[in-house]
């Protein structure tokens, strides 16, 4: 039996989403028949008529992996986003991502593996989910602390039996100009693609994320399925994934293709290696006025062994 224990951050009045936002979510969720599911959860939807209509998730375990740091409020995390398919201003995705249809949604897993296949989002959500509080550091020198909900990516990938040729994993975001209005402008090369080395993908910190703050992901945060790689700059944590491929060679990644000298394949958080145009030594935690020091690997030293013997200035 699952005992649902709400973490202290799940249900604060101050977390209530602005009306315009929840209305756009209502539209989406209503169309999906998820509204009923959300309303069936007492305490979430009935606490206040205007509470966000995002479906709550069953979470089997909670783990704070941000050293007890204060969790950033939901409103901030869901209104300050980099999701260029919905506009390049930080508040654009929250306003525009209502057009993203997150059901039905399957992710194709193929490439160098013995059991290629596809996974349905609802099957994933029905499986064992855990909550992990991680620091999230953007390459633009701002950061947040987020309670993500999902499963270890490695556990998911193993189901498809990668072969010894699977040295990297390539990820792809949905590309549909009808749902993603800003892909009409050639700001980036779409679809958005990202990649990890297989050992990075299998690392226990790497999450396949389906929710945050105890609920499914808002569209602007990468619904219905995204990566969370907490020791790398945020753009590595690709959103709205439709395809995962095991590959032998290092796959291309969107920001690297855009400006190779500024965004490397690894893009590990590193206060000692500056972005060519700005410093990475400090960051602004959203909600704070002054900057704080950025931590090596974003404060996850357990990943250092993945890069033993590598020159991190060369492999930025």
């Amino acid at each position: 039996m699952l005992i649902r224990i709400l973490p202290p951050h799940a249900l604060r009045e101050s977390d209530v989403t602005p009306e315009t936002l929840y209305l756009s979510r209502r539209r989406v969720l209503g169309g999906l028949g998820l509204g009923a599911a959300a309303l069936a959860l007492p305490g979430l939807a009935t606490a206040k008529a205007s509470a966000p209509a995002l479906a709550a998730l069953n979470v089997a375990a909670h783990r704070d992996q941000a050293g007890g740091e204060k969790v950033t409020d939901f409103e901030t995390v869901s209104t300050y986003n980099n999701y260029y398919e919905f506009g390049s201003d930080k508040d654009d995705p929250a306003r525009n991502a209502g057009s993203l249809k997150t059901r039905p949604w399957t992710v194709v897993v193929d490439g160098e593996c013995e059991a290629p296949g596809r996974a349905d989002i609802d099957t994933l959500i029905a499986g064992r989910l855990e909550e992990r509080i991680y620091r999230h550091r953007c390459v633009e020198a701002w950061s947040i602390v987020v309670p993500w909900v999902g499963l270890p990516l490695g556990d998911f990938l193993k189901r498809y039996k990668p072969t010894s040729k699977a040295r990297y994993v390539a990820f792809e975001t949905l590309y549909d100009p009808k749902q993603m209005p800003d892909t009409r402008y050639g700001v980036l090369d779409w679809p958005y693609v990202e990649g990890l080395r297989i050992d990075e993908a299998m690392h226990p910190l790497t999450m396949l994320t389906v929710g945050m703050y105890g609920r499914v992901l808002p569209n602007q945060n990468g619904a219905p399925l995204r990566l969370t790689v907490p020791w790398k700059y945020g753009f590595k944590s690709i959103k709205s994934i439709v395809r995962i491929r095991f590959v032998e060679k290092q796959p291309p990644t969107t920001w690297n293709r855009m400006a190779a000298s500024e965004y490397g394949f690894y893009s590990n958080v590193n206060p000692n290696v500056d972005h060519p145009r700005w410093s990475q030594a400090k960051e602004r935690r959203l909600g704070e006025l002054f900057k704080r020091d950025t931590l090596m690997f974003n404060g996850y030293p357990e990943v250092a062994s993945l890069y033993a013997g590598m020159d991190l200035k060369q492999n930025y």
Binding site: W142, L188, D274, W278, L289, F290
Partner: protein, 208 residues
């Protein structure tokens, strides 16, 4: 009915120039009072002040062409007000950066100026405008005579540096800074002595 007299018209222009400088400040005050500065208030303020710096610089630079094209004298008489408002917004932009990004540390500023070209360029733009703000009075104009006009051509360089500063810091979506650049190039290009250039003559002198 007779057309409004020259004084009435001049006051209209003055009012418009002050409104252009003040309205963004009032709007900002409203947003501060309603705490509607978004998830990253420091970044919001920095960008807001930077945007209005560029817009007002462009407005200032538009006044001379406007006078030449329209034949009205008023645009040039509100040019100083617009220029000083632009300088005000640039100072605010710089002050926010100094206070919240650098915590007032001169060492951090020196480090940024050496390592980051877009900061050095923005700083240079501000620096160029300081003597223009100081000598913007009529007393200085009389004292410097012809050299006043020469000195105040520095605004061309400052505006160009300002737009490059913006263009250089954007990650990928360059539509907005490119729009500013296009407007600036039109305003500066208009000042080139095209007749002389086309005939191969040496360019005549013009005031800014």
């Amino acid at each position: 009915m007779p057309a409004p007299g020259p004084t009435v018209r001049l006051w209209g222009w003055r009012l418009a120039a002050w409104a252009l400088g003040l309205a963004p400040l009032l709007w900002l005050a409203v947003r501060v009072l309603q705490s509607r500065l978004g998830a990253n208030p420091v970044e919001f303020l920095e960008h807001y002040a930077g945007d209005w710096s560029l817009r007002l610089l462009l407005a200032t630079l538009a006044m001379t062409p406007l006078r030449r094209i329209s034949g009205w004298s008023e645009p040039v008489r509100v040019r100083r007000a617009l220029g000083l408002w632009a300088f005000f917004w640039i100072c605010l932009h710089f002050a926010i950066y100094l206070t919240f990004d650098l915590e007032g540390s001169p060492a951090a500023l020196a480090d940024d100026l050496v390592k980051r070209s877009y900061i050095a360029i923005g700083f240079a733009a501000w620096l160029l405008l300081v003597p223009l703000a100081i000598t913007s009075t009529q007393a200085w104009q009389r004292r410097l005579k012809r050299r006043w006009a020469q000195l105040h051509r520095l605004i061309y360089a400052a505006a160009l540096l300002g737009v490059v500063h913006y263009l250089w810091l954007v990650k990928a979506d360059r539509r907005e800074p490119l729009l500013y650049l296009a407007l600036l190039l039109v305003l500066l290009g208009w000042r080139l002595p095209w007749r002389g250039i086309l005939r191969g003559h040496s360019p005549p002198r013009r005031t800014p």
